[in-house]
């Protein structure tokens, strides 16, 4: 799975597209890995822009859980932003909104993760 990326100061915004399910989750995990390796204290923060994600299954959510655990272990910060309504419902029902940092928009996520990243985002 391709992840388009944009950098705002110390924060990388990654944008997966489509369905994250049993057939695509391995690709999603592999695409995420290099960014999660740098998601650590003093390095990058990672924000996943889910605006173009149509569906996520349990195995896709597990990838997010593993990434979140890795970020915490490394002292980094990971967030998920801009969930489509159906995907937001999946997060709610699976209780992932209780264990991941989920934000209404990319801007909201940047505001929480990194003031310099928010400034860069607002500067266009």
């Amino acid at each position: 799975m391709d992840l388009t990326q944009k950098r705002y100061a110390d924060t990388v915004v990654l944008s997966p597209v489509g369905r994250i399910d049993h057939s695509t989750s391995e690709g999603f995990k592999a695409a995420l890995e290099p960014y999660m390796a740098r998601c650590a204290v003093g390095l990058d923060r990672v924000l996943l822009d889910f605006v173009r994600v149509e569906y996520i299954s349990s195995v896709g959510l597990r990838v997010l859980m593993l990434a979140s655990k890795q970020a915490k272990t490394q002292g980094g910060s990971l967030g998920v932003a801009a969930l489509q309504p159906a995907v937001k419902e999946i997060f709610d029902i699976s209780r992932f909104t209780m264990v991941l940092d989920v934000f209404p928009s990319v801007r909201d996520g940047l505001a929480r993760l990194s003031p310099p990243a928010l400034a860069a985002f607002d500067a266009g």
Binding site: H22, V59, L61, I93, S94, F96
Partner: protein
């Protein structure tokens, strides 16, 4: 099995881990909610009150999901009884047999998921075991199943030793992934992830399929395992599924605790093209409102993830019957 008989599933115990009971505060809360809804109405006959309860009140107000631990009956239309697990619900089942069929002359086939206490604790209070002339066959894949049953009857835990039970009791060791013909059903056990292992059962009879899969954790990154369970559930009319925890719990703080979630149950049923998913082995901490909410959420999840086929979502409660 007579051709005109349907397969019916009766739930005698649906709670996970340990039996629970409503306390007075919870009963009072239900009563207050019901009385408030009834204000201004004239409910002056039992019939009117019954209609009001069934039509006007939410299930979590007018009923309870109950608190007995695992015990499910599969009614085949034959005289022999077929059970899954002998948790505290087996006590209620046994008393019902005495009331409806009499104390003796009955045969019971009990398929055990595993010997953890909540799944065997009903047996010391299973009255048919105390009557000669009853035959009880206990099936399972665990080598130590009989030892577990005998152990809970032994002093100092219980006053009646297993050896003194008058019924004819046999333990029958099954092998997973093999088909057996028992009590008019084709039965296939399957190994599941759980502490000390557990086994699910696929029952087939009268062109209907019931899968009993409790105390099972599913490793989401193991696609071969996911596919093997989808095959196990394939085209089932009913899948009784351990949904004790949320998906977030099973992938974080309760990973490797040996239980599953409503989300994974639905995904497996969708992959398997099963007709009905029954949420089962309810978390003991959950009150009726919480289980009702879990049911509503799972139905909503099914709606927003539905492919070309609907899966009917149910939540088991003590006393529930499903005719297939």
């Amino acid at each position: 099995m007579p051709a005109d008989e349907r397969l019916t599933v009766k739930f005698w115990g649906t709670r996970g881990s340990i039996p629970v009971a409503m306390n007075s505060a919870e009963v009072r809360r239900k009563l207050i909610a019901a009385l408030l809804r009834a204000s201004g109405r004239t409910l002056d006959t039992p019939e009117k009150a019954e209609v009001f309860l069934e039509r006007e009140l939410d299930f979590a107000v007018s009923h309870t999901f109950g608190g007995n631990s695992s015990c499910v009956e599969i009614v085949t239309g034959r005289r022999d009884y077929v059970l899954c697990d002998l948790g505290s619900g087996a006590r209620v089942f046994g008393n019902d047999v005495l009331a409806t069929r009499g104390p003796s002359g009955n045969t019971f086939h009990a398929f055990m998921s595993h010997p953890h206490w909540d799944h065997i604790m009903g047996f010391p209070f299973f009255m048919p075991a105390y009557a000669s002339g009853n035959r009880i066959r206990i099936y399972g894949c665990h080598a130590d199943l009989e030892e577990a049953f005998r152990g809970q009857h032994a002093a100092p835990s219980f006053p009646v030793d297993f050896s003194r039970l008058p019924a004819a009791i046999e333990f029958v060791r099954l092998e997973p992934e093999r088909d057996y013909e028992i009590a008019g059903l084709r039965v296939r056990p399957k190994l599941q992830h759980h502490g000390g292992d557990s086994y699910g059962y696929r029952f087939q009879g009268n062109d209907k399929v019931v899968v009993y899969s409790t105390d099972a954790e599913h490793k989401l990154d193991d696609l071969a395992e996911i596919r093997s369970f989808a095959d196990f559930f394939r085209d089932a009319d009913l899948v009784i599924f351990d949904s004790q925890y949320s998906l977030a719990e099973t992938t974080s703080i309760k990973e490797d605790w040996g239980h599953s979630s409503n989300v994974v149950g639905l995904e497996l049923c969708q992959m398997a093209r099963a007709k009905r998913l029954c949420l089962y082995h309810h978390e003991p901490v959950s009150d009726d409102e919480r289980i009702a909410a879990l049911l509503a959420e799972t139905r909503r999840l099914e709606e927003i993830t539905r492919g070309d086929r609907r899966v009917e979502i149910l939540a088991a409660f003590d006393g529930m019957e499903i005719a297939l």
